[in-house]
Structure formats: C-alpha cells, structure tokens
C-alpha cells in the first residue's frame, strides 16, 4: 500500500470535518424551524396556516382568589399533563402594579415567534410546528438545558427523575404534542394542547378558566374565543391597548395581555 502519511491525515481530517459540519450545514436554511424534529417539511418563516395566540384579560383574572381556589388554569394543566408543583406550564402570580396596587398575572409559555429556546437548541429537539407552537421532541433532547437558560420567561422545566406518580401514563403513546409518558433527563414545556386544538377543543388552561379571562385565537383568521363568546381578535387587541410581556427582548411572544386590575371581579384595585 502506498498511501502516504500526508494523504492519510488529509483523508482523516476530511472525514472528521464532514462529520461535524455536514449535519449542521443541512440545517442552515430555515434558520427558525428547518430543524423541526418531525419529518414534515416546515417552510421556515413562511406563512403559517394557523397562528395560535392567547389573549389574557387581566381585568378578569383574580387568580381564582375570589373563588377561594387555586388558579384553575394551572390545575387543569396539571390534570392533563401531570406536571408537578413548581413546574407550572402556566403560572399565576400576584404582581405589583403602579400606585401601590397589585394584580394577578398568568404567565404561560409565550410560544415566541423568535423563540430563544428554539434558537439555542443544539440538536433541533425543540422546534415550531405548523401553527407556531414551540414543541419539544423528548426522544431527541439531550438534556443540556441550554433552552432553559435561554428562555426569558422561565417557562421550561426538566424531568429530573423517572416519574412514578401516574402509572397510567405508560399507556399514552408519546408524541411531542402530547409528551406523556415523561422522558427522564429531558425538558418539558407547554404544548398549547395541540392534541385538543386539532380536534376543535380549547386548550386546557382556557377551558379551565372560570372567569373567561383567557382567549384562544388565530391571528390568520382573526377570531378568538374564551369559550363563552367569540370576538374579533385584532380589534380586541387594538381597543384594549394589548401589550406583550418583555416585548423589548425581541422574542415576539404570541401571548397578549389586556391591562387592568381584575376590577370586573369586584376586587379592590388597591391592596
């Protein structure tokens, strides 16, 4: 054999280089969602068929304090996805407002358009699906927790151990849209109840809200509903001075807040 050492090394180098670069280069176009873990092609920044958004009317939310209950959106979520305490896919907290007031603020995953978590994922395990929802493929996730570091809304959690509380979970067929049974050592987050919405049902948190404070809508067809009424989405956003949480970060969140202080529930705006 007359392979010179130089050629051998060259060959080895090329093999090594291609091993690192090729998979990466394949993913270059479609910066945002080309690396979708599901097989169907996602046309990157192209127009979505649907664009789910949530609108949270802060005037109506009282954290279910008036009902003497835990926030019901949280409970509904927990019942479906068996999340643990401290792992609230939607959390409701009392926050300080101006002039010494306080109000309740539900904080779900914002399903950001420019999602920091999707950008930093090293293996494309987290991605946007066709309606803009950010999902995690727990079969691919390597558990590096880079996405948890990136998320400015603290809305990603980790399956630290094997979960045994709900033995019936083993009967679920895993899909990123319905991530049960939980996969140890991977990340979980709100899936915007993809399985429900595909069948014409509202997400659990919205259906579970006894105040009708949360609306589920589609920016493309411009309608939204809280399960009690149907409204024109963009009109509602425009008329109520809707804002998005931490908009200055450039994450383009898909959750809108309508400002207010829960006055509809007969609470004092000042505490």
């Amino acid at each position: 054999m007359s392979i010179s050492r130089r050629n051998l090394l060259k060959g080895l180098g090329l093999v090594g280089l291609s091993a690192t670069l090729f998979p990466a280069l394949n993913k270059l176009p479609g910066l945002d969602s080309g690396a979708s873990a599901t097989s169907e092609a996602n046309p990157g920044k192209a127009k979505f068929a649907k664009q789910w958004v949530r609108v949270i009317d802060l005037k109506k939310c009282d954290g279910c304090e008036g009902l003497g209950m835990e926030p019901q959106c949280k409970v509904a979520d927990r019942n479906v996805y068996h999340t643990r305490e401290g792992e609230e896919w939607i959390d409701v907290r009392k926050v300080k407002g101006e002039g010494g007031s306080s109000y309740w603020m539900p904080i779900p995953c914002m399903q950001c358009e420019n999602a920091a978590c999707v950008n930093v994922c090293p293996v494309g395990a987290t991605y946007h699906n066709e309606s803009g929802t950010v999902l995690v493929d727990n079969r691919r996730c390597i558990g590096c927790r880079m996405c948890m570091a990136a998320c400015p809304y603290d809305r990603r959690f980790f399956y630290w151990d094997d979960r045994k509380e709900y033995p019936q979970d083993v009967f679920s067929e895993y899909s990123p849209e319905f991530p049960l049974p939980p996969v140890k050592g991977t990340v979980n987050k709100c899936v915007l109840c993809e399985v429900f919405t595909q069948n014409g049902k509202l997400p659990a948190c919205i259906a579970g809200c006894p105040r009708g404070a949360m609306y589920f809508g589609d920016l493309e067809s411009d309608v939204a509903t809280n399960g009690l009424e149907v409204v024109a989405l963009k009109k509602m956003l425009a008329e109520n001075n809707a804002y998005r949480y931490k908009e200055n970060l450039g994450t383009k969140p898909r959750v809108y807040y309508l400002p207010g202080h829960g006055q509809d529930q007969g609470r004092e705006p000042r505490e």
């Binding site: 091993a19 690192t20 670069l21 998979p23 990466a24 280069l25 993913k27 270059l28 910066l31 690396a35 305490e85 401290g86 792992e87 609230e88 959390d91 907290r93 926050v95 603020m105 904080i107 920091a116 950008n119 930093v120 994922c121 090293p122 293996v123 494309g124 395990a125 691919r140 996730c141 390597i142 558990g143 590096c144 927790r145 880079m146 948890m148 570091a149 990136a150 998320c151 400015p152 809304y153 603290d154 809305r155 959690f157 980790f158 399956y159 630290w160 151990d161 094997d162 140890k184 050592g185 991977t186 990340v187 949480y245 970060l249 994450t251």
Partner: protein, 451 residues
C-alpha cells in the same frame, strides 16, 4: 562543568521519576484514583436515577458541573500561552515548563468534556449532537471549538515530545518492562536525531504554535457566548468573550505556576525550573490580573450605572447580597493579594508567587461559581414556585471531583511515563545560547530553530 556532563545530569534527573517515582508520588496518585472511583460510583447512581440525585432544580438548573466546566476551559488556555505564544515571540525562559503547560491544557480539556458529559440529562444521546447538530446553536460552536482545541493541543503536546520519547526508548533499556519499551519506540516514530528530522520537527512545532492560538481563543470566546447568547442578567453582555479570554490566561498561568512548583519539588528539578521562570510568569500573571480587573470593572460599571431592568436587584446579590462574600473575597484574595505578592520585591520569589498561584486557582473556581449561580438564582419572571437557594449536595460534589481529581490524576500519570522537562529543547537552548542571536531569529521567533 562541560556540556556533556550537564546533559547527562539532566537526563538522569528527569528519567529517574519514570522508573522510580517514589512512594509519596504513587500514594498521591492512588488517593486521586480513589476519589475518582468514588465519583464514578455516584455517577452510576445519577445515570440510573437521573439528575434528581443532584441539588439542581428548575430554577438553578446548572450548578457545580457547569461551574467546573467553565473553570477547566479557563485553565486550558495555559498551554497555548506558555508554549505557543511565548515560543512564537522568541522567548526561551519558558522552555523547561512547556510540557507542564501543555499537559495542563490537555487534561483540563478532557476534564471540561467530562463535566459536560455528567451534566447532560441524556448522556447516551451524545451522538445526537453530531447527527442532528444545528450550527445556529452556541452549544454546537462549543462542541466544534472544544474538539478542535483538544485535538490540536494533544497533537501539540505530542509533537515536541517525540525526541524525548526516543530518549526514553534509548536510555531506559532494561529498567522498564518490554511492553512499555515497545510503546516508547512506536510513539517515537523512529526518531534518530538526524538533522533532517530535527528540521521537520521544528517546522511542525512552529506551524502548530500558530494554529493552536486561534483555536484556544475560539474555545474561550465560544464558551463565553454559551452564556452571552442568553437574555439573563449578568450573562447578557458583549464584553463576555474577551473577559473570558483574559480570565482564562489569568487562571491558566496560575495553574502552571502551581504545577511547576509541585513538580520542581517532587522531582527535584530546582536547577532547571529556576526562580527566573517563576518571576517571569509572575509578571505575566500580574499583567493578566490587571487586565482582568479592568474588564471586570468595565462590565460592572456599565451595568451598575444604567440599572436596566432588574439589574439593580441582580447586582445587589453580588455587592451586598447572598453572594457578596465570595465576590469581595475574590477581589481581595485573588486580585489584590496576588498583585501585592508579585509587586513587592520581598515576596517576589518562588514561595510568594506559588502562594499567589494557589490563591488564584482556588479562587477562580469560586469566581466561576458566582458567575453561574447568581444569574440562575435570579428569576426572570415572578413565577418560580421553588425559589429555594441552590446548594450542591454530596453526590454532586463527588461527581464534580471526578473532574477535579481526574485532572490532577491525568497529569500525575502522564509524568509517570513522560519526562516532565522537554530535555531536547532545554539542551537545544543551552547549545544555542552560546551562538549569537541574530535579528532574523528574533523576528521570526525561529524558536527552537536557530539556523
């Protein structure tokens, strides 16, 4: 003493530990190996049960592992600086310690890779990084940079080692087992000390010294960007990459000082690793301490002046809150005291500089800790249920020690089989110091060359 005697003495000195390292040295290695074994035991537990065995939680989800990873990445710049940068600038005083510096780099990078592995929730899916890797992710930049730098520095460690391996092959003869002899001869690649071989070796070393510098800078910058690309307080900062590079030089030099101090004593190399080497490295350390403090000051001032968002609450954690102890102690013990020890002529000696080095290698770990943990402890939204303070538990410490003790163990084992001082390079320098230095050789840093 004529030069032949001098060379013979050096060879005896450096080859002795390869045959008879002494009881104490072996004992230390055994203890280190035990610590690693305990860590591996705990790691198996973690693999079985998940990261739940650590003190990590959804709020502070990176802890000791990532702290130590960043620490090792910093340490790993040592080899590049001492060996490559100084070689290219035509310096010679560092020749006796180049090998120590290079093995620190190699061992630190292996330690860093190890810490990443133990931190992963699904280590068995490591290959996904290559199968599904996305070049948009800073983590993939880190994978590429770290592998390049690791491969490059192992090569850069190996190439200048060839003549010494040949020396082991030729001199150790019957005092070592035939298998070990065989390994030396394979690794020596048929080195016969011919003029032609010397020339190609020097060429290879010079090429590698140039190549390794950008690789080293890259790995530190990219590790900084791992944090800098997030939106979190304390990390979301454009100064992070150069800041990491200087702090890497800073801790790397300190590690070299400590290691050479240990090997000087352990192997009786006082004659070769002289006070001059310590003092010169001390000056470098002083420079880096100043540059590092400057970056630190600049970073904190820009943040503290504007107090954007919740920056005030975040910074007060450091200045007078729960991390302030570490924070101020770091400035005292790792910046001010070392600067003082090196500047004052009474303490500017081997002991003083070694103390500075020890202070820094311990302190920088804590500095990494208060780089990672306070940022994560600070919630980005008012929502975390469990804002309980993170505190690392026993399992986490034990697993972290795989890295820390493993790092020392790797170096210790390495110098059981390879001379701690690059004999041929030192001899070469002795020979050259009798010939006049030309302008040309300085400019091109024809370091070990000398045409």
């Amino acid at each position: 003493m004529n030069s032949a005697d001098r060379i013979a003495e050096l060879e005896i000195k450096v080859l002795k530990p390869l045959v008879k390292p002494g009881f104490g040295y072996n004992l230390v290695l055994v203890i280190l190996a035990l610590i690693v074994a305990i860590g591996v035991f705990f790691w198996f537990g973690q693999l079985r049960q998940g990261l739940v065995v650590t003190g990590l939680q959804n709020q502070v989800f990176w802890g000791l592992y990532i702290t130590t990873f960043v620490y090792f990445i910093g340490i790993s710049l040592a080899g590049t600086l001492v060996s490559a940068v100084l070689r290219l600038t035509g310096q010679h005083w560092q020749t006796p310690i180049t090998r120590i510096a290079e093995i620190i780099t190699g061992a630190a990078l292996i330690g860093a890779a190890m810490m990443i592995l133990v931190d992963m929730g699904r280590p068995e899916r490591l290959l996904n990084v290559f199968i599904y890797g996305r070049i948009q992710s800073p983590l993939i930049w880190d994978v590429i940079a770290l592998n390049t730098y690791l491969f490059g520095s192992l090569l850069y460690l190996y190439i200048p080692m060839i003549p010494d391996l040949a020396m082991c092959r030729d001199r150790l003869g019957e005092s070592i087992s035939p298998i070990r002899h065989k390994i030396y001869s394979i690794l020596a690649l048929g080195w016969q000390n011919t003029q032609e071989q010397k020339e190609s070796l020097e060429k290879a070393i010079n090429v590698m010294s140039v190549v390794i510098i950008p690789a080293g800078i890259a790995v530190h910058s990219v590790t900084a960007w791992l944090f800098g690309m997030t939106l979190r307080y304390g990390w979301d900062n454009s100064i992070l990459a150069p800041y990491f590079v200087t702090s890497a030089f800073f801790s790397g030099i300190a590690m070299v000082i400590v290691a050479m101090s240990i090997y000087r004593k352990a192997f009786g190399l006082e004659k070769y690793i002289t006070q001059e080497v310590f003092v010169k490295l001390g000056w470098l350390l002083l420079t880096m301490a100043i540059v590092y403090s400057y970056f630190n000051f600049s970073e904190l001032l820009t943040e503290a002046y504007k107090l954007k968002g919740s920056e005030q609450a975040f910074l007060s954690q450091l200045f007078n809150g729960k991390f302030s102890g570490y924070f101020w102690l770091f400035f005292l013990a790792n910046i001010l005291i070392p600067i003082f020890l090196i500047s004052w002529s009474k303490t500017r000696n081997i002991t003083g500089i070694t103390i500075a080095g020890v202070l820094i290698i311990v302190g920088v770990w804590f500095k990494r800790y208060i780089f990672v943990i306070p940022t994560l402890s600070f919630p980005m939204t008012p929502t975390y249920y469990n804002a309980a303070a993170y505190s690392p538990n026993l399992a986490e410490w034990a697993i972290t020690l795989i890295g820390l003790a493993g790092f020392a163990l790797l170096i210790g084992l390495f110098f059981r089989v390879v001379p701690a001082i690059p004999v041929w390079e030192v001899v070469h320098d002795w020979e050259k110091s009798t010939t006049p230095v030309t302008d040309h050789s300085i400019r091109f840093g024809a370091a070990k060359g000398g045409k």
